[in-house]
Symmetry: C2
Subunit: 396 residues, 2 copies
């Protein structure tokens, strides 16, 4: 009898943690583990708002997968998944032969949720991955570089759609970046407009109101304009139309308003809700004992409020950690453990030196919260590559 | 009787040298000198190909005018000239009251010569000034940043129109820049195309053929493609159409094919040929004893070959040096001297470490020529601001 084949799709937080767990726990020849990822690197989603604004280089938000995975124990295939064939227990790839699996782990991340806003996919930018944020930075810089030639205000107007976690963190970075950008292109700082548009009646819906007030006051003091309770109806190449018909001219529109599951999961025939799979306590896809789903594609209900947990790096990491152990148990005929999300606190950065957040019921502001955010980033590096990776890639 | 008013239009090589000469020679209250320039800075045209490729920051190619002119002696007006009124002896400005003059020095530089190529002004970029080259750099980087998303070859194809001095120097910088740019955007270097298109039957028309061969061989060894004897018929947003109908898809088209005089000069009623003024031996505009023209707007015939000298920083500088002295002589009722161009040699850089050039009949290649080029740049800094400016802004 041949050894069981485990295939992990996606080198995000969940997939990498699963792979790390398996490479640590499995004995020689106990299973054949393959990790498939489109890029040669993992990107640190929680930092993407920095390269998107240009406050940090995108290399600070990615890690070579070969530097965190032991490729003697886990086979790494760099390729794009084109289809998941559940019947045939087969994964189809763009440039490689199909892969057979006995156990499948799907951690393929998310796609932007546009809520049917016209023109959004075509004309807005998304803080999604390295290729995307690099493009946002370059687009914005190109628009700014044109200002002294064309003198159009829209070139130096940035609309950020969505004032959730990503939106607020991105706006915070933009505020930090503007003085440098204005010097670079000989633009008076006060001419730049950063407009954060949110359909919900508050910034950071669901966050503690005291923390939200702190964030809004800080960002407004830096010139950010908030348009709350204001849905975007259409996104054009040169701006947005708000509900009611008001138009804002802006050469750069970045959408952070939400995500949905990866379409490949939907297409596989697994039952989904807005592309996400309501997994059972062991993260099984419904009706498939050999298929696990984690990360942004998985939907786990917070029973206290009977609503899904928002998709975060934190919950994906915990799912990957559990799955690494559970798959070993399953192969050995042991018992799997149930997934139980343990929230460790949440911090939203507002640029380099400001942040808001909470751990349990304790609230944090300003420099202390900013430090907390950095410690959370360092913890991820530690989980991936121990102290040596923290020292190599971390920064305070 | 009031003191004579001298107005200098343009803070380029010619205008600045005139102003420097006047501030040195004139006694207190002997004349009122005003220098008008659109920007607060002078830009070093001979270096613009570097920031256009991104191999050097654009601040290395500009100097604050206040740092080289003594504003106690020369009044500096930062504004755009809108009209030259010869009858009224008046200069109209965009944001200031009109200026009256007794003597006028026109050094307003050039505009691109498009030779009637369709779409060139609308779709090509020009290596002309700081605002322009900064935009080329940002445009190119934005196009490269899109490559990993869209995978279109045209995004990483650059067409340089014109293989004259500027064209070749720019291509040399591009060659230097590409390895860094490809690393930045995860693009295989060999996929990038740099295509230099020239209507004339040779690269660097008029240059020594041995030097031209050296340059072409060097640039071809770095992957540059030359299309010689190949006029461009049309420039579109996404490429060019060559004579005969062949189309090259390229997201970045930079035109270096030639310059003509500034339109303001033509509009003033001064007689021009392709916007340039055939000045007399004292640099007078024909029929105007109180109006002098220098730099790219002036046309001086090389009598040895009965053709105009090409517009260069070198000839402009010499004209400004002469005019600074001649205007003092004129005010004092003395004799003006004739302009006689003294060619001091010519060097074309091919990136940071390569160049070709000649001084008199002696030819230079490679590292020696590259050093010569740097010395020429330093000399300009020395003329402008002495040793202290060389030390502050110069680099070898």
């Amino acid at each position: 009898m041949s050894v069981p084949k485990i295939v992990i799709l996606g080198g995000g937080y969940g997939g990498l943690m699963t792979a790390k767990g398996l490479q640590k726990e499995l004995n020689y020849n106990e299973a054949e583990v393959t990790l498939v990822n489109q890029n040669s690197y993992h990107y640190i989603t929680t930092k993407l708002h920095e390269p998107a604004a240009g406050t940090a280089h995108h290399d600070h938000a990615r890690l070579a997968i070969s530097s965190v995975i032991n490729t003697d124990k886990v086979r790494f295939v760099q390729d794009k998944v084109t289809a998941i064939k559940l019947e045939e227990k087969e994964i189809q790839l763009e440039n490689h032969e199909p892969l057979q699996y006995d156990y499948l782990v799907i951690g393929l991340g998310s796609a932007p949720e546009t809520f049917g806003i016209r023109g959004l996919l075509e004309n807005a930018f998304f803080i999604r991955n390295i290729n995307g944020v690099r493009m946002i930075r370059e687009h914005m810089e190109y628009m700014f570089s044109r200002y002294q030639n064309e003198k159009k205000e829209e070139l130096i107007t940035i609309v950020v759609g969505g004032a959730g976690f990503t939106g607020i963190e991105y706006v915070g970075e933009l505020v930090d970046r503007m003085p440098e950008l204005c010097r670079e292109y000989d633009i008076p700082l006060e001419k730049v407009r950063i407009i954060n548009v949110e359909a919900a009646p508050t910034v950071l819906p669901g966050f503690d109101t005291e923390l939200v007030d702190y964030a809004v006051k800080y960002l407004e003091s830096k010139g950010v304009e908030f348009l709350i309770s204001t849905p975007i109806e259409e996104c054009m190449e040169d701006g947005v139309i708000l509900k009611g018909g008001r138009e804002i001219k802006a050469a750069t529109v970045v959408w952070t308003g939400g995500v949905r599951g990866n379409k490949l999961v939907e297409d596989s025939g697994i039952e989904t809700m807005r592309g996400r799979v309501k997994v059972d306590e062991f993260l099984h896809a419904p009706g498939h004992d050999d298929v696990f789903v984690l990360g942004d594609s998985a939907l786990v209900i917070n029973e206290e409020i009977n609503r899904p947990y928002p998709p975060t790096a934190q919950i994906s990491t915990q799912q990957g950690q559990l799955l690494g152990k559970n798959l070993v148990a399953k192969i050995r005929g042991g018992e799997m453990k149930s997934f139980k999300y343990m929230p460790k606190g949440t911090v939203a950065s507002l640029g380099r030196k400001e942040a808001i957040g909470f751990v349990g019921t304790k609230k944090y502001y300003g420099a202390k919260a900013a430090l907390l955010k950095k410690l959370i980033d360092l913890r991820w590096l530690y989980l991936l590559g121990g102290v040596s990776l923290v020292l190599r890639k971390g920064k305070l």
